[in-house]
Amino acid sequence: MALIELRDINKTYDNGQPLHILGILDNYDTGTYHLAGKLIKDLSENQAAEYRNRMIGFIFQSFNLIGFKTAVENVELPLFYQGVPRRKRHELAMEYLEKLGLTQWATHFPNEMSGGQRQRVAIARALITKPEIILADEPTGALDSKTSVEVMQLLKQLNKEEGITIIVVTHESGVANETNKIIHIKDGIIGQIEENTSHSAWDGTMMK
C-alpha cells in the first residue's frame, strides 16, 4: 500500500484484468501504473476521489470506521459520495452486512462491536462499491489469531467467488501463507516473488 515506498515494482496482477504497477504509488510523478486499464497519472483530486470510490476498497489495520456512525451507516458512506439515494443505499448496505453475517449488528456503533466484527463491517464498506481491487493494510494486525483466520478466510473467499484482486500488506507469515502470491519487500525494494498456490510456503514462522 501507499505507506510502503515501492521502488521497483513491475508486475501484473491477474483477476482477468491486469494491474500494472511501476514506480511509486504515493507519488504520481515518478512513475506510472495502470489500474483496471486506466492510467493512474496526473489525476485531478476529483478523478482520484472517483477512482478511489469506484475501483478501490480499503481495509485498514485499525478498521477506521467512523465512530459516531452505526455499522450500516459506515457501510453506506461510499455510496453517499456516489450520490445513491438514501433508501437504496440502506438496502445495499444491509445486503452486504447480511453477507458478512452482521445483520443484527447493523444499528450498533463500532465501539459496541468486537474487533472481528468491526473488521467485517470495514470489509463490507470496502465491498459495497464493487471495487476492482481491495487494498488491505495489515487487516489482521489488531485481531486475535482466531479472528485473524476468519478474516483471512473471508478475504480468500471474496477473491475466489467475486474475483476481486486483494493485495494484503502484512508482517505475519501465517497471513502471507494464505495468499496466492507473495512479494517480499525490503526497504522498499522487491526481493523474492513466490507463487504460493499450495499455501505451504511457510510453516508459521516469521517472515524474514
Binding site: R54, N64, F68, F80, Y81
Partner: protein, 414 residues
Amino acid sequence: MRIDRDTFREILDSLLRNRSRSLLTGFGVFWGVFMLMLLSGGGNGFRELLEKNFEGFAHNTCIVLPSETTKPYKGFQKGRSWSLNLTDVDRLRNLVPELETVTPLTSLWGESVSNGDRLFTASVKGVRPDYVNIETPKLVYGRYINWMDIQEDKKVCVIGKKVYKTIFPEGGDPCGKKVVMDGVYYQVVGVDYNEGNMNVNGRADEAITIPMSTMSRTYNFGNQFQLLCFTAKEGIQMADLIPRIRAIIARNHYVHPEDEQAMFMINTQVLFGIIDNLFKGINFLVWLIGLGTLLAGAIGVSNIMMVSVKERTTEIGIRRAIGATPRQILWQIIAESIVLTLVAGMIGIVASVLILAGLELGMTEDGILQATFQVSFGVALLAALLLSVLGSLAGLAPSLRAMAIKPVDAMRDE
C-alpha cells in the same frame, strides 16, 4: 455539492452525534446573538421609558418667560417688571412666518379646586385651543377647550388625571359636573390623562385647564399673560429664529434686546437634541458591544471547528479514502459551521425575545404597555442574515484545513 435532504442529514448527524462539541461551539454564537438582541431591545425600551417623560410635548417648542430687567434701556432703569401682552402674539404671528403656533398662556399656582367636600390644590392654566400643539392632552373623557369657549368666556374646564382621581373618587365620566375654584363654578368638559414629566406651568395631571379669556376676566389679567409658547414650522431650527423673536418682543416692551435674563427663553429643541444624541450614542454602543460579542462568538466557532478538524483528521481521511472529493469535505465543514451558527443563533434570538417579552409583561401597568422592549422582526431577520454570513466565514478557515487532509491520513495516528 448537492444540497438535498441526504446531505443535510449527513451534516445534522455529524453535529448531533458529537453533541458536546456542537454545544460548546454553538454557545459562543448563542451568547453573542442573545446579548445583541437583549441589549438592542433593552436599549430601545429604556429610551421609550425616558421618552414617556416628554410625551405629548412638542419637540420644537420655545417658551418665553418675562422677568425683571437687568439692563437699563431707553431711559428705563434696570429692575423693572414687565409682562407679555396679546400684541406680542399678533406681532410674532405677522413678523415671523416661520412660526407654526404662537399661543399665550395665563397661569396661577396653588388654587383649590373642589367638588363637594373633595378638594385638590391644582395649578391653573388659561389656554387657547391651539395650546394642544405645545402640550398634547390625552383625553379619556370629553373634549379640550375650543374657540367657542374662548369667544363666549365659558366657565368650563379640563382636569388632570390626579385632580380627577382626587375630587371624583367614585370615577366615571365627570363631564357636565361642576367644580368650584375661587368661588367660581366651572363645568368639567374633559379629563386629561397626560402624565409626561415635561410640562409648562406644572404637571398636566395636577392642573386644571380653563379658557384663557375666562381666566383673564376672572382674575383681571387684562390683555396680559404670563407665558408665551411657540413652535417652529417643520425643518426650521428654533435657535435661528430666537434673536429675531427676542428683538420683536423687546422693542414692544422697551426691554434691552440683549437682556437675556429679562426675557428668559427655553428652547426645547436643544434639550431634545441632547437626549436624541444621547440615545444615538447608546444605540451605537449597544450595537458595538452586541456585534463585538457576536464576532467573538463566531471566532470561537472558527477556533473550535479548527480544533475539531484536527481531531477529525482520521474521520476526514476515511471519507477521502472511500471517495469523498475535497470539495465535498469543504462543503461539509462549511455547512456544519453554518447550520451550527444558525441554530445556535436562532435559539439566541428566541431566548432573548422570550426574556424581552417577560420584561414587557413586568412593565405593563393596568394592561397598558409602558414601553416596547421587543426587538422588531426586521432586526431579528437582520441578525439571522448576519449569522449565516458569520457562520460561513467562521467555517472557511477550518474547511480549508480539512480540505488539505489526504486519504492516507486515515492510516496515521492511532
